[in-house]
Symmetry: C2
Subunit: 233 residues, 2 copies
Amino acid sequence: MLPANIEIRDYLAGLIKQSRLKQNERLPSERELVEQFKSTRITVRDALSKLESEGLIYRSNRRGWFVSPPRLEYDPSSRVNFYLLAEQQQRTPATELISQKRIKGPQTARTALAVAADEKLIELVRLRSLDGRPVLYEFIYLQESRFPELMKKDLEGSLTTLMQRDYNVEITHEDNRICVSAVYDQVADALSHINGAPCLEIRRIRYEGERKAVEFDIEHWVHSAIELRIPSH
Amino acid sequence: MLPANIEIRDYLAGLIKQSRLKQNERLPSERELVEQFKSTRITVRDALSKLESEGLIYRSNRRGWFVSPPRLEYDPSSRVNFYLLAEQQQRTPATELISQKRIKGPQTARTALAVAADEKLIELVRLRSLDGRPVLYEFIYLQESRFPELMKKDLEGSLTTLMQRDYNVEITHEDNRICVSAVYDQVADALSHINGAPCLEIRRIRYEGERKAVEFDIEHWVHSAIELRIPSH
DNA sequence: CAGTGGTCTAGACCACGAT
DNA sequence: TCGTGGTCTAGACCACTGG
């Protein structure tokens, strides 16, 4: 005899795998599932959380639970930009610039970029979406001195292209660190997640030349929206 | 006014970050926390789940909650074996061979290895630990024809070394796919996790020569135990 | 406005781990 | 055997979304 939470999970997972529920379709409401399975919301929500962990469904704040579309395949080493990547996979990308500031920034960013004690950093915060669903909340830190007048430019497109065209930056290599983490507060809100939901976190340092770091990013991906692909030779 | 679950989370996160609770130390029991915060187990467990998602704590089945040690840094492209990797980071590794079988295997493995319809695969299932804590449950699929007598050998050490030494296999490249997934049943049990807990999943195809796939792995990592490091040039 | 999920109360029984 | 977490019952109120 399976526990009720697993039974509910299996039932919904079956519907999704048989495509009886299509991608981005809303699931029955929690209360409907409670009735259907003669169970309680605690148990139903437990089942839904499991499906969310697996990446089969996602939530949209207080609107309901939805079937996840296929994951975006992303090779961090390829340096293909977000727009191109999305379009190659028949998805519609969008970017919203949440904020741009001159600030001291977090210590991790200052260390990565090796800035002097009195120098400020430029912080860009962006929210990126696929087919209207927010999937990525990112913090970008740059050295002000290397990018004068940056904040007057269009910051919703590809930063790599902009850096190349307007500042003659050629990225020679980068260092990516990937782990499972959790989102809170404004990140959780923007991604329509609850506080403490798991996410895939990528921290990246980009270099021009052997030791000259020019960019530090922290990316928070909705975990069901992405699959990393790392070829190695 | 913060919700109670966040308040409890913040309190415990504070204890951990100030090292008032040391790595691998047990947290107060759920019922103790209920008393301390005049709350309920639902709320306390909600806070604990959030900390687990963040990787700050882990659970050991029905024994309690414990403070996570630092993550193992792992570069899949480096092909350093597990033992060496662990020892470089002052950790004590161990491997347990759970099972070895000749089976048809899952379709994903058969496709990856491009085996004939009637050929069986060798499946190895292993559990790997750091300092006594299980962190990785892996399924390994190999072509029987390429590895005769394999099942008579020591399968708890480095497979790469064994393949090289006894079968003259030289891995030329590999393809890694990384996503956040969830563990169930025997995987969850072995990792001391509950059904549906998130994990970091790595699927890997290893090649000798341009197109000759010799190994297909599915790794389930306890998500708080690992950080991937991907340098790119 | 009604309906949704987010949070919470105040308990209960069970399986399993440590001793 | 006792304490632990795992699962579950049967509700409640709130904040927010959409029509």
